[in-house]
Structure formats: structure tokens, C-alpha cells
């Protein structure tokens, strides 16, 4: 046996050890992200929430509310599409928490836990791997929107910036679902708890109707809700108009959520037997 090869000699941390550790964490996380992407692509039914579901939301909102809110469905589509991109990627993040919970229950993660890899690697890997779902969701939405008559008034770069910004926010918020996934016993419970988080975030916004039509208390929440700022920023980036406040709010609140939620999620993962 290759005892000497595998045994970790006890030695003091050499210079550069720290850097190598970070590098290893990145490499392991990417390997695990690859796993997660493979799994996603092999189980297409897991992509319904980022393909069919957003299309249905667009149909429902545009044809149900469009006439009442904006006077015409065409105009309403312009108003709705950038915002619903945000809703879609945020909803799409729920699956990360549900899948992680399932993996842990099934024992798949026991193997990862018994390997000499960073504790956070399996979580980072899952979150990174699911970014592909958000990209797919935005492509589907933009494609469907264009088919229905949506037109961006800016250019390819601002539109891409809007996509990036919303994916970034979804990445940050998905750590909330990871945390929920670590805390809940059952995958079903994850879904339920995730909805409780998502509802005020996505519907406490100007997504379906302009902010000035809302009652005062709701307007107060909307103006501090980071998701609303991301929606406003996406509108600005795709249709023209002010973007600075929305972008800054989104970036700052995203970083804050990430800084709080990711360590909590990793701690919950460690604690979970």
C-alpha cells in the first residue's frame, strides 16, 4: 500500500500554504459544480422551473393584467419582462436548496464529508453549478419576450449587464435557500420555507404594477427591497432610464446577503449530523 503517499506528514504550514488552500477550494468547488451541471442536464424535468414556468408567468401577467395596468399588452410586456427576469432567477434558486437537502438525506454528501476537501466546497459547487439554470432562464425569457414583441431600447451591452446583475443577485439570494436546505429535515420543507422568504422579496416590488399605485406601508418596503432595486435597474438597463441607484443597491445588498448567509449556511452544514 502507498501509505507514505497518502499519509499527511505533520509539518508546519509552509509559506504559500494559505494560497494553495484557497486554490484547492476553488478547484474542488469547480469539480463539484461540474457534477451539479451534469445532473441538471440529465434530468430535464428539473429545468421546468426555469423554462416553462417563467413562460407561463409572462403569459398570465401580460394577458391577465396587461390591459388593466398598462392599457395594452404590448406596453405592459415592456414594463414586465425586465422585472420578471429577476423573479425567475430568484425562484430558480430554490432548487439549489431542495437538491442539497436531497443529496444530504440520500447520503451522497457523506462521501464528500469523508474526503479531505474544504467543508464549503460541496455547497459552493452546487451554487455555482446552478448558475447555468439562471442563464438558461434568462435566455428563455428574452427569447419568448422577443417573440411576443418585447424590444430592448438600449443595446447588447446594457442588456447583458442586466442579465449579469440579476444572476449575481440570484447567486447571493440562493445562499438563503442553501441555509434553509441545511436547516430543514425534508426537501418538501425546504420548498415551503423558501417560498416564505421569496414572497415578500419578489412580490413586494413594482414587478407587476407601478410603485405609486401601492399603499404607503408597501411602498416603504418596496423602496428598500433589494429585489425591487434589481428590477428597476434591469428596466433601466434594458429600456433606458436611471440605473445608478438600482445597480448600486443591488450590488451592495447582494454582497451583504452573501457575507451573512454563506457563512451561516456553511456553519449549518457543519453542524448537521
Amino acid at each position: 500500500m502507498t501509505t507514505t503517499e497518502t499519509a499527511a506528514p505533520s509539518r508546519a504550514a509552509a509559506p504559500g500554504e494559505e494560497r494553495r488552500r484557497t486554490f484547492r477550494l476553488a478547484r474542488h468547488s469547480l469539480a463539484l459544480a461540474g457534477r451539479s451541471i451534469r445532473k441538471t442536464l440529465r434530468t430535464p424535468e428539473q429545468l421546468l422551473d426555469v423554462t416553462l414556468q417563467p413562460v407561463m408567468f409572462v403569459v398570465v401577467y401580460v394577458f391577465l393584467l396587461g390591459g388593466a395596468v398598462a392599457g395594452s399588452t404590448g406596453e405592459y410586456l415592456q414594463f414586465l419582462l425586465p422585472a420578471i427576469m429577476v423573479q425567475t432567477v430568484l425562484f430558480g434558486g430554490m432548487a439549489t436548496g431542495v437538491n442539497l437537502n436531497t443529496d444530504i438525506k440520500k447520503g451522497v454528501f457523506d462521501r464528500f464529508r469523508s474526503l479531505p476537501i474544504g467543508r464549503s466546497a460541496p455547497l459552493i459547487g452546487s451554487v455555482l453549478g446552478d448558475l447555468i439554470r439562471y442563464v438558461l432562464a434568462e435566455a428563455v425569457l428574452l427569447g419568448f419576450g422577443y417573440a411576443l414583441g418585447f424590444r430592448a431600447h438600449t443595446g447588447i451591452v446594457p442588456v447583458l449587464a442586466a442579465c449579469l446583475l440579476t444572476v449575481f443577485l440570484a447567486f447571493c439570494v440562493s445562499w438563503a435557500f442553501v441555509l434553509v436546505g441545511m436547516l430543514m429535515r425534508e426537501p418538501g420543507g425546504v420548498q415551503g420555507a423558501a417560498f416564505v422568504v421569496l414572497f415578500p422579496l419578489t412580490f413586494g416590488t413594482s414587478m407587476v404594477t407601478p410603485k405609486d399605485t401601492l399603499p404607503g406601508w408597501l411602498r416603504a418596503w418596496v423602496s428598500v427591497n433589494p429585489v425591487n432595486h434589481a428590477m428597476e435597474a434591469a428596466r433601466g438597463l434594458m429600456l433606458g432610464g436611471p440605473v445608478a441607484t438600482g445597480v448600486v443597491w443591488t450590488l451592495v445588498s447582494g454582497v451583504v446577503m452573501l457575507a451573512v448567509l454563506a457563512p451561516l449556511a456553511v456553519a449549518a452544514y457543519r453542524r448537521r449530523a
Binding site: M1, A8, L32, G107, P116
Partner: protein, 318 residues
């Protein structure tokens, strides 16, 4: 000089709420040996394995692998161990090869090395044909083997096998036994938990019988059997006509009446192996040839019953 024990757990205590899963259990094995941990469902086997494999922290007691403390240096311990959990932890959406390559990558093998190692293990475990099929299409036995292979990617020194044959039919069980024997021949130390007495008997150098989170007996299979006493000598004369004569000799030495065993053999309970030797000597002196002469030990099942007052898991569950 390495440490005396490949792994060692001392006085482990673990509680889950009201349940005391481990109540001071101690387990150890010298390098290159197999420790069988035998106990019914709920005895605490899995919990003990999870602590040794750094997946769980004990509430009290300590555990070490190759002298490295599992609580203080879990990362170092993980470099030394392989774990095959009670429930196969293969990823069903990945192929057999992908499962093993991923683990190789996580163990810092280069891509080519990881692929070569995966191919080698798949071949060793009779999974070469199925390498590129998703694990969800594998049979129970194939999953077990893939799971075992997965725990060997990093060439561990110590392997924890938690009920590796539970749910397998006897032929598949033999396959797994052969794998365990090969590992031991390679110098690996194995902790094997089981509910099957014959499995511990077949594979383990030493057996710790566990119940309610503690070790209630420890020794080799033969030693454990002796704990219960009740050894019997069986004599089968070559000439069936001399059966009565053989029975008389055995009874005289044992100081108890002999019982017939089938048509052409006789048995008598004895207190120790010396009585057996004396029977052999006297049969020889009488010029009485035998086709079978053995000291029979009670089965491990009986050992367990004597030690705990209840039967093993299978019967209790039934």
C-alpha cells in the same frame, strides 16, 4: 514505528436528544487486521463509524486514526480513511466512471490519473462493462461495489465498511467478502460492522459485540464462542459397530452421558479442551479409528443470546 492501533476509539459517548446512541464504546484494531463490530439494529454501529470517519463529533471520549485525533485533526484523518456508509452514497445521476473520477479529482489527482484510477477500480470490481451507465441503472450489488470502489480511490490505510452486505443475496455477499480479503492482503486495516454472525466469523480477526452503545464482549470468534462454554466433542468411528465403545470412552472422560449424533456418531459436552485431548488419547489407545473427531463450539448466534439475553437484529425485526 507507527502507532499500535490503526484506529482506536475510547469511551465514546454520543447522544441524540433523549437517545444515547453510544454509551462509552471502545473499539480498536492493530494495523492490517479486520475488526468486526457485531450488533443488532440500533446498537450504535453507524454512529461509532461516523465518529471515527470524522462525520460526527462525540460528546465524550476520544478517537484516533493512525494516532491522529479525529476531532482535533479531521482533515488529516480524512487523508487516511475510506468510508462506505450503510446506505450506498453513489450519485445515481452520474455514471460509475464519473462517480469515481469526481472523487479522484477531489483527491487532487490530475485528470488523466483520476480516469486511470477509476478505470482500474471499475475493472477490479467487475464494473468495467457498466462504467458508462448511470448508477441509477445498477443493481443493488453493483451499487455496493461502486460504493466500495469509491472509498478506495485515495488508497486509504483504514477503511470503514458499515454493513457492506446488508440486503445482498448470498452470492453477492461472497463477492464483497472476497474484496475485503483482498484489501487486507494489501495491508489495509478494516472496520466492518455487521448484523451477520457468519460474516464476522468469516472476515474478522477480532470481534467486538456491541449492544446499546457499548461493547459487551471482545475477542476472536473462537474466544467468544468459548465464553459461552458448552463445547461438545463429536466422535464418528470408522467402524459403526464400535459406536457404543466410542461413546463409553467419551462419557468416561467427560463424566457425563454421551448422546447419539445421527446414526454413526456420538457427542458429549466437555468443560475444556484438555478433556478433548484425553478422549483422543484413549481412543488411540483402544485402537479405535475415527472418520471425524472434533471439538464443536456454539454458534455466534448463541454467543449473542447468552451475552444479551435477546436475539440478534434479524430475529427481533422479524
Amino acid at each position: 514505528m507507527g502507532p499500535m492501533y490503526a484506529f482506536e476509539a475510547e469511551g465514546l459517548v454520543k447522544r441524540f436528544g433523549e437517545t444515547t446512541a453510544l454509551n462509552g464504546i471502545s473499539l480498536s484494531a492493530p494495523p492490517g487486521t479486520v475488526l468486526g463490530v457485531l450488533g443488532p439494529n440500533g446498537a450504535g454501529k453507524t454512529t461509532a463509524v461516523r465518529i471515527l470517519a470524522t462525520l460526527l463529533r462525540p460528546d465524550a471520549g476520544r478517537a484516533a486514526v493512525a494516532g491522529v485525533d479525529v476531532v482535533r485533526h479531521p482533515a488529516r484523518v480524512r487523508r487516511l480513511i475510506g468510508l462506505t456508509g450503510q446506505y450506498a452514497s453513489v450519485d445515481e445521476d452520474l455514471t460509475g466512471a464519473e462517480n469515481l473520477v469526481l472523487i479522484g479529482r477531489l483527491l487532487d489527482l490530475r485528470s488523466g490519473e483520476a480516469k486511470a484510477r477509476a478505470a482500474r477500480l471499475l475493472a477490479d470490481f467487475g464494473l468495467a462493462e457498466a462504467a458508462d451507465r448511470r448508477a441509477s441503472t445498477y443493481s443493488g450489488g453493483m451499487r455496493r461495489r461502486l460504493d466500495l470502489a469509491a472509498s478506495l480511490v485515495g488508497r486509504p490505510e483504514v477503511i470503514f465498511l458499515d454493513e457492506p452486505t446488508t440486503g445482498l443475496d448470498p452470492a453477492k455477499r461472497e463477492d464483497v467478502w472476497a474484496i475485503v480479503r483482498r484489501l487486507v492482503a494489501d495491508g489495509v486495516t478494516v472496520l466492518l460492522t455487521t448484523q451477520y454472525l457468519e460474516e464476522a466469523d468469516a472476515l474478522a480477526d477480532a470481534i467486538s459485540v456491541v449492544d446499546h452503545g457499548r461493547v459487551i464482549a471482545h475477542g476472536t470468534a473462537a474466544e467468544l464462542k468459548r465464553v459461552v462454554g458448552g463445547q461438545t466433542v463429536l466422535v464418528r468411528p470408522a467402524d459403526p459397530a464400535r459406536l457404543a465403545e466410542a461413546a463409553a470412552i467419551a462419557a468416561a472422560v467427560a463424566g457425563r452421558p454421551a448422546e447419539p449424533a445421527g446414526r454413526d456418531a456420538t457427542t458429549v459436552p466437555v468443560d475444556d479442551a484438555a478433556a478433548f485431548t484425553e478422549i483422543v488419547r484413549r481412543l488411540d489407545a483402544a485402537g479405535l479409528a475415527v472418520t471425524e473427531l472434533s471439538l464443536r463450539l456454539p454458534s455466534l448466534d448463541e454467543v449473542f443470546f447468552t451475552l444479551t439475553g435477546h436475539r440478534t437484529g434479524q430475529e427481533r425485526a422479524a
